[in-house]
């Protein structure tokens, strides 16, 4: 499989994301202008001026993208550049037609009309921002379904539907009864007046306009009783919503039954490490991905921090239960973390590991491609688990032992490792990133000098990774320049497909995002 897809674009910062959203809004508004021009021809001049403003924005966008492109000579012939040009060309043609007689043929009304509709090609610009719009729509959908779940919208809908049907049937019934059994004018002999009076009867219980006929009075009596019931049921529902809201105050939001998560991170099990793991993942992701915690006590888990837990959801149940596994939306998850959790005080490490391994197997059986990391307690379990490809197992005790030894041999070094292991704005981490194209054919030393001089981003290359894409960091060499222990001079020349192991504050900006990996959820969106 070719390592990197053709459809790559540079990563965007938060500011760039805002600008992209602005461009999306401009595209949308400029498309709205096209039908408005037809519907309101008298305002043609105003719409034309708006069109010129939007075209100017798109021209600036085109020029800036061209200027920032890695390969400026080739950029105008790339897919998105052609789309951007098609988006501005019709308007530019119309401007030229207005001002230059050479283009007099374009002035013909019919041709101008065609050119005007060519502006619809701007729809294609949405392709560039497809993932951004998708994420926005996903968040809206999940928020909406969470809100519906919280206010028990299904129940309320049913109640209001029954109330509505009762009202309509009651009004019609009273109208027919009164007009049939009475002579002369009455409160219910007018059709629309019946509706008004019945709604008063149902929801206020005040019967100030009495029916004249006996059957009519019987019907109103029934409706009065039904009105009392509706009032009671609606009040009860609202109270239960409020009580539930109060009970859930400070607790993690429950995953709504109908809601489907995508590109989320699943945490199976709960232990004392859970809170800090959520904090670390939030710090790394900027809260852009949903986190779903699945455990037997998930409904009682508390939110420590509103900001950190804004996109954390809980699913109560046994992670091994097939029904719960279905509700996790495993097929669209980006990552899975399996935590060691004990069900009973007397559980020993072997039992805990067996439970963790069962969870891993359950997930692996449903989706063997989702990257998974599992916490284990014993080395014995680690040896057994090695048969599962693509799953990382962690026996943290090993790291603790080695770190304690390192602290003796190299005093002060724990601070360095702690800094490298922590996700935060002012600490660096290890990243394994594809070698940028401008370094292919160059040496590791060239890379070191390049990044030392680059003050825009603090990056230190520390190794070369030549692992298979499916198993990153399995064939890497740290400190490759170190003579006999490192790589030979020939091996230190970067080839296409090589990766750099670097220390950086965040994923380096030169790393282009694979559109395919983004859509599949394999690449985590970190900005």
């Amino acid at each position: 499989m070719k390592r990197f897809s053709d459809s790559r674009q540079p990563r965007s910062s938060a500011l760039a994301t805002t600008l992209e959203l602005f461009i999306v809004a401009c595209i949308f508004l400029s498309l709205v202008l096209i039908p408005l021009e037809i519907l309101f021809p008298e305002k043609h001049l105003f719409f034309w001026r708006m069109e010129l403003v939007f075209t100017a924005i798109f021209v600036v966008e085109y020029v800036v993208r061209w200027g920032l492109a890695e390969k400026r000579l080739i950029y105008p012939f790339t897919r998105y550049a052609i789309i951007d040009l098609l988006a501005i060309a019709p308007t530019l043609l119309m401007v030229l037609a207005e001002h230059f007689t050479l283009f007099s043929v374009a002035r013909s009304v019919r041709l101008l009309r065609v050119v005007r509709f060519l502006r619809l090609l701007r729809f294609l610009k949405f392709l560039r921002y497809g993932y951004l719009l998708y994420r926005f729509a996903l968040h809206l959908r999940i928020r909406f379904s969470t809100l519906r779940d919280q206010i028990q919208a299904n129940q309320l809908e049913k109640i209001f539907l029954y109330a509505f049907l009762t009202w309509v049937i009651g009004a019609n019934s009273l109208y027919l009864t009164e007009t049939h059994f009475t002579v002369g004018e009455g409160a219910y002999t007018g059709y629309w007046e019946s509706y008004w009076h019945i709604i008063i009867v149902l929801f206020s219980g005040i019967e100030d306009k009495e029916p004249l006929s006996l059957p009519g009075r019987i019907e109103v009596t029934i409706l009065l009783i039904m009105g009392i019931c509706f009032a009671g049921v609606i009040t009860g529902e609202i109270v239960s919503i409020l009580v539930r809201k109060i009970q859930r105050l400070g607790k993690i939001t429950l995953k709504p039954r109908e809601s489907r998560l995508e590109h989320h991170i699943i945490i199976l099990g709960h232990n004392k490490h859970f809170k800090n793991i959520v904090r670390q993942v939030h710090a790394a992701m900027g809260g852009r991905h949903y986190i779903l915690v699945v455990s037997r006590n998930a409904d009682s888990l508390e939110k420590e921090d509103e900001d950190v837990y804004k996109r954390v959801m809980a699913l109560k149940g046994n992670p091994l239960d097939p029904a719960i596994l279905e509700r996790m939306d495993l097929d669209s998850a980006s990552r899975v973390i399996v935590l060691s959790s004990s069900m009973r005080m007397e559980d020993n490490p072997r039992d805990i590991d067996n439970r963790s391994l069962l969870k891993v197997i359950a997930v692996y059986g449903r989706n063997s491609t989702v990257p998974m990391v599992a916490e284990l307690q014993t080395e014995e379990a680690l040896a057994a688990a090695g048969v599962l490809d693509g799953v990382e197992f962690l026996v943290s005790r090993h790291f603790g032992e080695r770190l304690a030894s390192q602290a003796v041999l190299n005093p002060g070094v724990t601070t360095i490792y702690d800094s490298l292991m922590t996700f935060s704005d002012d600490s660096s981490e290890f990243y394994t990133v594809p070698v940028p194209s401008y370094l292919v054919g160059k040496t590791f030393r060239d890379a070191q000098l390049h990044f030392l001089d680059d003050d825009d981003e603090a990056i230190i290359p520390v190794g070369i990774d030549r692992s298979d894409e499916a198993c990153p960091n399995t064939r890497f060499t740290l400190c490759p320049q170190a003579g006999q222990a490192g790589l030979s001079s020939g091996e230190m020349v970067f080839k296409e497909g090589d990766c750099l192991v670097v220390i950086a504050y965040e994923q380096p900006r030169f790393v282009a995002v694979s559109r395919e990996a983004l859509w599949r959820g394999r690449e985590l969106c970190r900005n």
Partner: protein, 268 residues
């Protein structure tokens, strides 16, 4: 394993026994970082130690492993362990004390520091919330297994495979890289990190500079307490931090296969 401890120097004292003893002793005695180190283990609960033979390290590396039975708070026992001449002391969590073992571990560290303020104390912490208290009790380094677990899990989730990098760095086996903290020699005083890093790259040194630590010594008060340094750690310096002149009391953080020793012989 011997119960009588000869006078030792430059050894490591390990307080308390748990499942980590074997691996730690192995790292200290068979790693590639210089000479294998003698280790003295202080065991509070003899029955516990003898009931877990798999906790016992295998001998090897040419260094001694000695066991003394008693409490680490007992000054006599610490003297028997030659704590005054020890290089470092590792205080492990006592498994019989449960999650509140940090208190006992910290008191053991205080006792050791009192006997020898110069010894480098490393304490295994169970609850990360207690980290701040340990710093105030002059414990030099803290290893919190829970925190390591949390951070590595998060790291592996965000960047699959990164734990292998940490695994490589934390092993003292021959042929693996580690992080070292050599002092900045006089010959490099007032040079900036950028200048030192450039020199390292251009001269093809067998180590990669990652950053620096500036230690600010606090004047000693009366008594045997050591001068405590306020540390300013800067890994992967940004922009202007690359151009801060480094002076004495600074250390360079480097990644290398072997300890670089005196930086002056490579640079300056």
């Amino acid at each position: 394993m011997e119960n009588r401890v000869p006078p030792l120097k430059g050894h490591v004292v390990v307080v308390n026994c748990n499942e980590k003893v074997a691996a730690i002793v192995e790292e200290l005695q068979t790693g590639s970082n210089g000479e294998p180190l003698d280790v003295v283990l202080l065991v509070h609960d003899r029955e516990l130690w003898e009931a877990h033979p798999h906790w016992h390290p295998e001998g090897g590396g040419g260094a001694g492993f000695y066991t003394l039975y008693g409490s680490a708070h007992d000054m006599e026992l610490l003297k028997q362990a030659s704590i005054r001449h020890a290089r470092a002391a590792i205080i492990l969590a006592d498994p019989t004390q449960g999650v509140l073992t940090d208190a006992r571990s910290t008191l053991a560290a205080v006792a050791i520091e009192r006997e020898n303020p110069q010894v480098h104390t490393v304490e295994e912490l169970i609850l990360s919330i207690n980290r701040d208290h340990l710093a105030r009790m002059n414990v030099d380094e803290v290893v919190c297994l829970g925190e390591i677990s949390e951070k590595l899990i998060a790291q592996s989730c965000i960047s699959p495979g990164v734990k292998n990098v940490f695994q490589e760095l934390l092993t003292t086996r021959s042929g693996t890289t580690q992080i070292f903290l050599p002092e900045i020699p006089l010959s490099l005083h007032q040079k900036t990190y950028r200048e030192i890093a450039r020199e390292c790259i251009e001269k093809g040194t067998p180590f990669i500079p990652l950053g620096y630590i500036i230690n600010t010594p606090i004047p000693r008060t009366s008594g045997p307490r050591k001068g405590i340094a306020a540390k300013s750690v800067c890994i992967n310096p940004r922009r202007s931090a690359k151009d801060i002149p480094l002076t004495g009391h600074s250390q360079l953080a480097v990644m290398a296969y072997d300890p670089p020793g005196d930086l002056g012989r490579w640079l300056g």
